[in-house]
Amino acid sequence: MYTYDEHDQRLVDERAAQFRDQTRRYFEGKLTEEQFLPLRLQNGLYIQRHAPMLRIAVPYGHLAARQLRMVAHIARVYDKGYVHFTTRQNIQLNWPKVEDVPVILEDLASVQMHAIQTSGNCIRNTTSDPLAGVCADEVEDPRPYCEIIRQWSTLHPEFAFLPRKFKIAVTGAPSDRAAVRVHDIGLRLVRNAAGEVGFEVIVGGGLGRTPIIGKVIREFLPKRDLLTYLEAILRVYNLHGRRDNKFKARIKILVKEMGVEAFREAVEKEWQAIQGTFPLEDDIIAWYQARFVRPQYDPRAAEKDWEDERGRQAEFSAWYAHNTVSHKVPGYRVVFLSLKPPGVAPGDLTSEQLERVADLCERYSFGVTRTTHTQNLVFADVRQTDLFELWQALKEINLATPNIGKLTDMICCPGLDYCALANASSISVAGDIYRRFEDLDYLYDLGDIRVNLSGCMNGCGHHSVGHIGILGVDKKGEEWYQITLGGSSADDASLGERLGPAVAKDQVADTVEAIIKTYVDLRLEDEPFLATVRRVGVTPFKERVYANH
């Protein structure tokens, strides 16, 4: 992963000092609540339902062992001993005290971490493919570009007070695991006809109350133009994005209201004026590539298919089949750690687990773990010969539930239990669904199904791109849930279609079960859930679900 040099370190130290000063001025009454608000948000600090919430940045999802240990320490000393992993690959603390945040930021800075721009109306944490650098289908490793964008956007003097939050995702592979089409800017590394590598630029995607799939505004952008092109987009947005209505302030609304062609023209015109002003030359890119410490793969690492052991151990076999994927280096394999065991809020991890994960990634995966936008963790570089041992160790800490990509691997926001915005208790509904589908053999028969739950319209649980999307809404003080079918954030990105009227909280699990039974009846041989929904439409599902209403 990227290692800081003295400049990077100085910046996070100075940022911590700045926030210490801001917090002091706030408590001394020199900053009003309203003035302190954007300053604390740009350091990830919210005031939530029960307590403040602090969101820690995990750039493109990479965490080193010592960082995991520091987060465990912070959670134990300043919080209640656990953390939550989010869909932006970040980490949230749910119960810190405002007065402790300056020292938390100092602790984070000591291990090359920060909370800069994890909230607020600025450019947020850059996200990426959790399999970056290890998947065989990659055009190029996207992470050096993620880091370049992270730095370019960090404390950007022109774009710190945008109309609304701004999210960028980058992927290097044709198979989209970074949901680039539902970001304000999505970047895909692609090869053009001449064989050069550059970026496809997608703009104006997003979830929340107005979900939109982003549009391609440039098929091929040479690498050297990356930062000037981003600047052009951001400037058009900063100057022309709506500021009169918070709900219409995202870039997706600007693109929609201008029309994508007019928006593209405005960006191109702006870009023409600045195109050559700070080119991202190959030697700059090389500098960043060189600062990524790459694993020293053992060229003698042996291939091992574990066939005999899998024959003897059904549980291990299931884990191997569902929680591990192939690696581009011979003798290695990628391992997913499921943060979705039964009875746990999706994405939560205790301090003890974090410390064990730190130990295990040091032992088995070059000291680095990765977070995913589906709220799981990844050990990207595991020797195939270590898999059985690692599985046993993960089982001990409840991180080996073999359900990656399956129905119980749900994305779920913190909901009413923590979040000041929520209308509904998404975590308990996820629990209801989970209990209904605990039979793993049944889950495997169903294949890959993405269930996403959000406790409110803001869509932190990405409900609108769930194969099954579940959105909590408030009706006269009661919790109801709207169900959508057919959403996807992958290559074939699409928004889910409403199934029908919202259902009561105690009906959600029944409804999901009815949807699944309908799928089982209608599917063609080996047809995945999403394909069936797309083939038959929502009507057959609707008829089944509402038959008894």
């Binding site: 400049h7 990077d8 100085r10 910046l11 100075e14 940022r15 700045q18 801001q22 001025r25 020199k30 900053l31 003035q35 954007p38 300053l39 109306n121 370049i148 730095q151 370019w152 956007s153 960090t154 404390l155 950007h156 003097p157 022109e158 774009f159 710190a160 007070f161 945008l162 109309p163 930062l227 400037r235 900063n238 100057l239 022309h240 500021r243 004026a273 002003t277 700070f278 991202l280 030359e281 030697d283 700059i284 090389a286 500098w287 960043y288 060189a290």
Partner: protein, 164 residues
């Protein structure tokens, strides 16, 4: 009135005129709307002239652009500290239009934003926050690291090629 200009506290000689007041000689600023109407007569006076933009209509900058060689000061009146349009406008003024006169921030901005405003080309500040101006001067020193280019230079991302 004391202001910060070029990182020093100075006694300011400029007078901000409303629409009605007859322009005296000396250093005066007028709103953009008045400039549009009275441009020629304002230029007849003895003294320097400045134009105030309320930063809520970015297209005003394009309209003002041909006049920039004839004015000495552009004041950006931030409508609300959270409205970031002034930051782009300042940078365009300095870099796109090559304005070399004074770019002054007025209106609603925070001590904490002065570092950013300075980076996008603002060189004078009518700061009215709770901190004394002597303290506000420290805002420019908050960060010693600048990753990205702005109106004040190239930024670390490009400098890094030298050490590559």
């Amino acid at each position: 009135m004391r202001i910060i200009k070029d990182r020093q506290i100075i006694e300011d000689a400029w007078v901000h005129l409303s629409d009605e007041v007859a322009p005296p000689n000396g250093k005066v600023t007028v709103p953009f709307s008045r400039w549009l109407v009275e441009r020629e007569s304002l230029l007849q006076r003895e003294g320097e002239i400045g134009v105030r933009l309320d930063c809520q209509a970015p297209e005003e900058l394009d309209v003002l652009a041909p006049d920039l060689p004839r004015i000495q000061l552009v004041m950006l009146e931030l409508p609300r500290f959270a409205d970031g349009r002034a930051f782009s406008i300042a940078r365009l003024l300095r870099q796109r239009y090559g304005f070399t006169g004074e770019i002054r921030a007025g209106g609603d901005f925070l001590y904490d934003q002065m570092f950013y405003l300075a980076r996008v080309g603002v060189n004078a500040f009518e700061y009215r926050g709770p901190e004394p101006l002597e303290d506000a001067l420290k805002a420019f020193e908050t960060f010693s690291v600048k990753y990205q280019p702005a109106a004040d230079g190239t930024g670390l991302i490009q400098q890094r090629r030298l050490s590559a």
